[in-house]
């Protein structure tokens, strides 16, 4: 239920409390006023039903908007990460390509060197063989010939070692090249995949933005409609309030007349302040105030709402007690508030208990402060919320100012 809806229902409840229950029997003049009041009340109810419905739709729109914005944000974050990932992949591909180029160049150079070295070695072997056949060196110096043959072996071994070294280097480079090519292929595939993902994200984001735009349009429309309805309701409430004042005046006059000028004047009205209530007030249950009294700005939905009461979160099935001594004036279901119980404390002081599941007292039963009057409903989360409203002279006051409640 949205805040606006709760405000509307609070106003309705106040009207019901003030008019429908306290004064069940009306005089003929009062019947005109009551008829007017009923008529107005009917109209107000219709408007408020429309408001409620519009508020619900707006709430839904807000929720959708929030969800959509959330999705858009998530998609944007994903897209950003995706782009960042793509950039990294691109850089990696670029770096791999550079390394690939260098490796290819190195392999070509090594192949050329290998070919040259092999050619040199073969030619050296030919020269060595020819030299041996011809008797390299001075034939009259066998020691010199032996030395030259030994050095030829050293030379050929050196060349062969060189060839082997180049071969090994080339093989290593070719392995490195293969690895790089594989890495490049893998990275390219990954890039392609990520690009597809990115495209998907982009399309989803676009779709979500379009959806968001639709939602925003719907929200604006609803807000406009709600604003209009509220204006009307405000006007209607002023009318109802006027009528209430008239009823009260009439009642006062009636009581004054019924007492017949007794000296015993009606005791002065009880003070219209809960602080001066006999016995004081106590918290209806142990819990935490989750919705405060008064004008609140909802940042999620970016609306300003007026709370006439507070919502207290407590464990599911918790017992609800009367905040003070009084009489159960109403027990029943009220649209938007669930099971509602109203306790009259006298002097125009009422305490309203909404969203209860069970009642343990009847209408007209006297309760004391702390008397268990009902229980909260069960909830899968283990937590339930009690709606508490205090009215003094028809005006809602902040319950936290009269009752020590945990915030």
């Amino acid at each position: 239920m949205t805040r606006g809806t709760r405000r509307i229902l609070s106003a309705l409840l106040a009207a019901a409390v003030s008019l429908g229950i306290l004064f069940p029997a009306a005089a003929p003049a009062a019947r005109d006023v009551a008829a007017e009041l009923r008529k107005e009340r009917g109209r107000l109810l219709e408007m408020k039903e429309r408001e409620e419905k519009t508020a619900l739709e707006l709430t839904e729109a807000l929720r959708k908007e929030k969800r959509s914005k959330g999705r858009v944000g998530e998609l944007q974050a994903l897209l950003t990460r995706q782009r960042s990932l793509l950039s990294r992949i691109d850089r990696k591909v670029s770096a791999l390509n550079e390394r690939l180029e260098r490796a290819e160049k190195a392999v070509r150079e090594l192949e050329a060197a290998h070919g040259q070295a092999r050619t040199d070695l073969q030619r050296a072997e030919v020269v060595a063989f020819a030299g041996q056949r011809a008797g390299a060196g001075d034939p009259w110096h066998p020691s010199a010939r032996e030395r030259e043959r030994h050095f030829m072996r050293v030379y050929l071994a050196s060349d062969a070692e060189g060839v082997a070294r180049i071969t090994r280097a080339r093989e290593r480079k070719e392995e490195e090249l293969s690895g790089l090519e594989r890495q490049v292929a893998v990275t390219e595939r990954k890039r392609t995949q990520e690009k597809k993902v990115g495209d998907t994200l982009l399309s989803r984001q676009e779709e979500e933005r379009r959806r968001l735009a639709d939602i925003e349009r719907e929200k604006k429309r609803k807000e406009k409609e709600l604003k209009s309805l509220r204006a009307k309701i405000a006007r209607m409430e002023s009318v109802v309030s006027r009528v209430e004042r008239q009823v009260k005046e009439r009642e006062r006059r009636a009581r004054k007349g019924a007492a017949g000028g007794s000296a015993a004047r009606e005791p002065a009205e009880a003070p219209r302040r809960f602080a001066s209530l006999s016995g004081g007030l106590s918290a209806p249950l142990a819990g935490k105030v989750v919705t405060r009294f008064g004008r609140q700005h909802d940042t999620t939905f970016d609306v300003t709402i007026e709370n006439r009461g507070v919502e207290i979160e407590a464990p599911s099935g918790a017992s609800v007690k009367s905040v003070g001594q009084g009489e159960v004036a109403f027990v029943g279901a009220v649209s938007g508030f669930g099971n509602v119980m109203i306790v009259q404390h006298g002097g125009g002081l009422f305490s309203v208990y909404g969203r209860m599941e069970t009642f343990l007292v009847k209408q007209g039963e006297t309760v004391k402060k702390g008397t268990v009057v009902g229980r909260l409903p069960g909830s899968p989360s283990g937590k339930s919320v009690l709606y508490l409203e205090l009215r003094a002279g028809g005006t809602a006051i902040d319950p936290t100012s009269a009752i020590p409640l945990e915030r």
Partner: protein, 296 residues
């Protein structure tokens, strides 16, 4: 005048002409033989030739500093069988190698010089034997700087055998010539004794004992043989000296001219002269005996 007649050079006094011819012939023969003897002595029977062509190569490990290599070469040169030991650095080795295999010159390019430095050891001609070579090789192999020693172990024994054979052949030929000299001399002595038999008989009748006659004849032959050998050796030596000076390439085969005046050379020549004297005396005696007994 009843004194014993002097029998010195009696043949010269009795038969001058034929003796002059014989003397000239012997002198020329000793010139040749002296030349041959000095050649054999200087060349060591081919050992000098072999020693100039044989060398032990100590291939050094890569990275041995030149100073250390040269120090090692000096130490090797101090070994008794070693005539000379010279260090060749890698660059020199590379140049020598390219000279032996000219086709390799353009192949190396920027490959660098793979050749190590080495020490070339020359053995003294008179110490060129398997045992001395093994001594040098063992000494070299014990040095850590030396990677490998090339001493021609496969072909050196054959070469030494060939050298020994050549030396023996040369000395054998020389000995054969000496033997020939002896035989010819004996024949000549016999012929002369036969020719002078009348004179000798005359002298024998006049109280000159045959033995004394033979002795003095032999002594004269010995002296003449010694002198002729000495003179022939001197002339042969001079000829060899001039040959070595004129044809320097012969020094590699025979040896330097200065070796002609070495004490061992002179001693050998003196020994040869003594041998020639003995052979001459022996030829004289045997020829005298053959003449007196009527043998040929």
């Amino acid at each position: 005048m009843s004194e014993q007649p002097s029998l010195w050079w009696i043949d010269w006094r009795l038969s001058r002409g034929s003796l002059v011819r014989e003397t000239i012939g012997r002198f020329l023969f000793f010139c040749l033989l002296g030349f041959a003897l000095l050649t054999l002595l200087l060349s060591g029977g081919g050992r000098r030739f072999l020693a100039d062509r044989y060398a032990v190569t100590a291939v050094l490990r890569a990275g041995v500093p030149s100073a250390e290599a040269e120090g090692l070469a000096r130490k090797v040169a101090a070994l008794p069988p070693v005539r000379s030991a010279g260090y060749r650095d890698p660059e020199v080795a590379w140049k020598e190698f390219l000279q032996a295999y000219p086709g390799l010159d353009p192949l190396r390019g920027a490959g660098g010089n793979p050749m190590p430095g080495y020490i070339e050891i020359r053995i003294r001609p008179d110490r060129l034997t398997g045992g001395d070579v093994n001594l040098v090789v063992a000494a070299l192999r014990s040095v850590s700087h030396v990677e490998q020693v090339l001493a021609g172990e496969e072909w050196l024994p054959r070469l030494l055998r060939a050298a020994r054979l050549a030396s023996r052949v040369c000395w054998g030929i020389f000995g054969a010539f000496l033997a020939g000299f002896f035989l010819v001399g004996r024949l000549q002595e016999r012929a002369r004794a036969v020719a002078l038999a009348g004179d000798f008989a005359f002298l024998a009748e006049r109280g000159v004992p045959a033995g004394r006659l033979a002795f003095f004849r032999a002594a004269g032959a010995a002296v003449s043989g010694f002198l002729l050998a000495a003179a022939g050796s001197a002339v042969g030596g001079e000829a060899l000296f001039l040959s070595l000076r004129t044809f320097p390439f012969l020094e590699g085969v025979i040896g330097p001219p200065s070796d002609l005046l070495l004490p061992r050379t002179v001693a050998a020549v003196a020994l040869f002269c003594c041998g020639a004297a003995l052979l001459s005396a022996a030829a004289s005696l045997l020829g005298w005996r053959a003449a007196r007994s009527g043998r040929k």
